[in-house]
């Protein structure tokens, strides 16, 4: 069972990593608004735009989808 001494730290590192990612996401405001992104993702940015080179820059913390 000595493999446990290796596997448990690895498992803990992995879950620690995902907790860190979650905290980072919350701090950046990813969970502030959970209803609009569901709608926003349906839009294709390029259709109809005469200026496709310039991506709109978001004022909030979330990157443009």
């Amino acid at each position: 069972m000595s493999v446990l001494y290796l596997v448990i730290p690895i498992a803990l590192l992995m879950s620690g990593g995902s907790v860190a990612v979650f905290l980072w996401a919350v701090k950046r405001g990813q969970f502030d608004d959970v209803s609009t992104p569901a709608v926003r993702m349906l839009h294709d940015d390029d259709v109809g735009s005469r200026d496709p080179g310039k991506e709109p820059q978001a004022p909030g913390s979330t990157p443009p989808s």
Partner: protein
């Protein structure tokens, strides 16, 4: 007076008395931009695009020029929505320094940032077009819409574009723009929400990992796990639980600490005791290498309790978010008249004492002041509760918050902001809210005993086992503390309230806090405001009497006036065809007079109409005696009149009146006229019902009477009956005239002892506090004048359409018109409290089982780990499956 001559208006309207002149359009064409029907005259044949007006056509082509035609596709996918309409405002007030100071933040990059409330955004097309602002307007750097809060965060370069231009652009798309009033508190709240979410995330990860370890340990009981491995799992669980215990569970320690300091027992205290006892006991056992550990229970307790907190936080936010949106709708711009007489839109904060502001018809007065120019009718019901509109002229005082009904006036400001009457009332509201004692939540009420019982039981267990088996004493005491940690009890109230408040919100009832539900569940004295709450809050035509043949003549006159009573007539008879009226003149405070088809028609207050007819009698007498007077008007002692229709010269057809015969005229009383219509009896009868009479005279002959009043809401009687069934006493507390209040009370069958009229806002407050000495008081109101009473009452409910101040003061507010939601609210509250009681009973039973197991020493961590989630699950399902708030009649 035969009763058959008085008929209710409803009967007239429904009976199809008047032919409907609005012919149905054969085929309705919708405007390509706004979606409203296009007038048949404006339909362009063979064109794929149809527009209802030039504005829509302009917006349509603007959207196409920007290459944004996809907006219409997206809108179609989102389904049929409300028509898109722009308000066409200039929004120059957004460029004011006063506005900037309050709402605009400058980012480190030199860009400006503001949060705006966009009225009417609701679908993916809205998100799309608003977020394309960056492509439409050079200078806009970012635009991001939050659909749920209906707010947009705009970042722009002030050197390139003005905020007013951005606002106008958004307005063109059909979303009127309002400054977001709650922006400052939002930042704080956002931080609070984020921190709690992070605590939950960590607690969740920890409980998951510890659970894995524990599962291995439990499995190890049945298949001999070697001691080294067991000890490894125990050590790892102990360390993994630590971050959750130290950081995630902090709110519970803080709550427990402040509970100890204030000596008010709170649920957090037993939670903190259970958590720390469980962890410390477990850690001791890990160190000495034997005994039970409860790390899995501790970790999942923290997680579950934090979820309960989260639910509670979100539910409080929902109601206050909704209230903030409503506040944002309050006017923020004022039409300021400068020294040269030019009108300019500025932010309301910039107006100072002495400034002249212009207030247009339909707008609310922004400040307290004196009319400088013009005259109008004011609806002051929001401040005074008086249902009848008040006439004001130059030199008379108007108050902020009241509504200008008739025509544009200019007001010289005397007080602004907190100095206004409304501002002073709001201070009284805050005062009343501060004085109100907080109620002890049902669950917290039993916590005191709970803590005492648990601690003594733990001591008892330790003592008992000290005698039986000293090695087990500590273990069993710890087991008891952890198994009785009131997880289900802690979740019982927030979950039940959350589920109920969510249901209520879907019914258009927004509740500001969980304690409101508990306070509403007991029978109370329910006091209603009259104007706008029990009644419709606007003057309508309620009854008619006399000769119906003159109604078209009345309508012909009333169409020319903007007086509220005149508007009520026009509204009441939409289908009635009326002839053209000439030479219409309006007497302020009196009535209207005009010539229709050669007949002189007078419509107005009884005094006015009778003075006119008596004048006529006098004139005719004079005419009879010295036949051939050149200008009969000169001798008529008419009050100063306002020309309503051009320069119309009055040419009453006097000889016609003479044909009636001198005997009838000389009798002097209208009742003696040929039609046999007894106007005086009718007026007297209406006076008892507090109906305002208006008489109609044709050629000096009173032919009909119209009764106006503020109609009682159709559902008021049913609502009162339902409240009585709940054991509530029902009364009225109104600022309107006592006679009107008495009439409404009689109509609704209310106890006269519980009905008060003529109450000022201060008197309302005093009355509510007096009644509170006798028991719980629920105040239902809508106006600023109710606000202090709403705040002082045990529970204040603001009805649909209530003033900003009343929304702020109330504990619950209704977004659905009518009084039915009031009944639903109280009924739902009763049901919710029943659910809370059931939840508490459940969790106490689980705790009892746990105590028995722990005291008898057979409790092991596996039992605890199963028992705890099971009890929580029961509470969760019990909370969400119960029917609490529901529409009445929809079983």
């Amino acid at each position: 007076m035969p009763a058959a001559m008085t008929r209710d208006l409803d009967a007239t309207a429904e009976g199809g008395q008047f032919p409907d002149t609005c012919a149905a359009v054969a085929q309705v064409v919708d405007c390509s931009h706004c979606g409203l029907p296009v007038a048949p005259a404006d339909v362009v044949a063979q064109s794929p695009q149809q527009f209802c007006c030039n504005g829509c056509a302009a917006v349509y082509s603007a959207i196409y020029q920007q290459g944004l035609e996809r907006y219409y596709q997206l809108r179609q996918q989102a389904g049929k929505a409300e028509p898109t309409r722009s308000s066409g405002r200039s929004y120059t007030e957004l460029d004011d320094q006063a506005f900037r100071d309050l709402h605009v933040r400058t980012l480190p990059s030199g860009m400006d940032q503001v949060e705006l409330y966009l009225q009417g955004v609701h679908c993916s097309a809205c998100v799309w077009i608003v977020e394309r602002l960056t492509q439409i307007l050079p200078g806009v750097v970012g635009s991001r819409l939050d659909l749920h809060r209906q707010s947009a965060e705009i970042v722009w370069d002030p050197a390139q574009v003005a905020l007013s231009e951005i606002a106008r652009k958004i307005d063109v798309f059909g979303y009127p723009v309002h400054p977001f009033r709650g922006a400052s508190t939002r930042l704080l709240r956002r931080q609070e929400e984020r921190t709690l979410l992070m605590r939950i995330g960590l607690a969740w990860a920890v409980s998951g990992n510890v659970m894995m370890m524990s599962l291995s340990l439990y499995a190890g009981w049945f298949s001999d796990m070697d001691a080294d491995t067991t000890q490894l799992f125990r050590w790892v669980s102990m360390f993994v639980t630590l971050p959750s215990l130290l950081w995630s569970a902090q709110p519970f320690y803080q709550g427990a600490w402040s509970a100890l300091k204030t000596r008010l027992l709170h649920m957090d205290l037993p939670v903190a005791i259970g958590l720390s006892a469980g962890y410390l006991g477990g850690a001791w056992n890990v160190l000495r290498g034997q005994g039970e550990i409860y790390f899995d229970s501790v970790a999942s307790l923290i997680f579950l309790l934090l979820v309960g907190r989260w639910v509670q936080l979100r539910q409080r936010r929902q109601a206050s978010d909704a209230a903030e949106l409503l506040f944002s709708l309050a006017p923020s711009a004022v039409h300021l008249v400068d020294a040269r007489g030019a009108v300019q839109d500025v932010a309301i904060e910039r107006v100072q004492v002495g400034d002249v502001v212009e207030v247009r018809s339909g707008e609310a007065f922004p400040t307290d002041g004196v009319i400088d120019q013009g005259s109008t009718t004011v609806d002051a019901s929001v401040l005074t509760g008086e249902s009848r509109p008040v006439e004001v002229g130059v030199g008379e005082r108007v108050h902020a918050g009241t509504t200008n009904l008739a025509s544009q006036v200019r007001v010289r400001t005397e007080h602004t902001g907190e100095g206004t009457r409304v501002g002073k009332l709001m201070q009284a509201v805050e005062e009343a809210a501060r004085r109100r004692a907080p109620i002890v939540a049902l669950a917290d009420a039993i916590v005191g005993k709970f803590v005492a019982v648990i601690l003594s039981l733990a001591a008892l267990t330790a003592l008992l086992w000290w005698y039986l088996d000293p090695a087990m004493a500590l273990d069993n005491a710890v087991a008891l503390l952890i198994v009785t940690c009131p997880c289900a009890l802690g979740l019982a109230t927030p979950l039940a309230v959350h589920a109920a408040v969510g249901r209520a919100a879907r019914l258009g009832i927004l509740i500001k806090g969980g304690d409101v539900v508990e306070r509403l569940s007991k029978p109370a004295t329910v006091l209603f405001d009259k104007t706008g709450t029990l009644t419709q809050g606007k003057v309508t035509l309620q009854a008619t009497a006399g000769d119906e043949a003159v109604f078209p003549l009345v309508l012909a006159l009333e169409r020319q006036s903007s007086h509220p009573l005149a508007r009520a007539v026009v509204q009441a008879w939409p289908g009635l065809a009326a002839p053209e009226a000439q030479d219409v003149e309006q007497t302020v405070g009196g009535g209207l007079r005009g010539v229709i088809g050669g007949q002189v028609v007078t419509v107005g207050s009884p005094e006015f109409v009778l003075s006119q007819t008596r004048t006529r009698v006098e004139i005719t007498r004079q005419d009879l005696s010295r036949s051939g007077a050149t200008n009969p008007i000169e001798g008529a002692h008419l009050r100063p009149t306002q020309q309503a229709n051009g320069t119309g010269e009055i040419r009453p057809d006097f000889p016609r009146a003479l044909t009636l015969g001198p005997s009838a005229l000389l009798a002097g009383s209208p009742s003696a006229f040929a039609t046999g219509f007894d106007a005086q009896a009718q007026v007297a009868q209406w006076a008892e019902r507090a109906i305002t009479p208006v008489l109609v005279a044709v050629d000096g002959q009173v032919r009909a009477a119209l009764g106006f009043g503020d109609a009682v809401r159709p559902d008021a009687a049913a609502c009162i009956a339902a409240l009585r069934q709940f054991g509530c006493r029902v009364g009225i507390l109104s600022g309107d005239h006592p006679r009107v209040v008495a009439a409404v009370a009689a109509q609704l069958g209310l106890d006269a002892d519980l009905c008060w009229g003529g109450a000022s806002p201060e008197a309302k407050l005093a009355r509510v506090e007096l009644e509170k000495a006798r028991g719980d008081v629920v105040m239902v109101g809508d106006g600023v004048n109710d606000a202090a009473a709403l705040a002082a009452a045990t529970v204040g409910i603001s009805v649909h359409g209530g003033a900003e101040a009343s929304l702020q003061a109330a504990d619950a507010f209704l977004t659905r018109p009518g009084l039915e939601p009031v009944v639903e609210l109280i009924e739902g509250a009763k049901r919710t409290v029943a659910v809370i009681r059931r939840n508490i009973a459940f969790s106490l039973v689980y705790n009892l089982v746990g105590v028995v197991l722990a005291v008898s020493g057979v409790l092991n961590p596996l039992f605890a780990a199963v028992l705890m989630p099971l009890s929580s699950l029961t509470v969760v399902s019990s909370s969400f499956r119960s029917r609490t708030f529901a529409r009445r009649g929809a079983e």
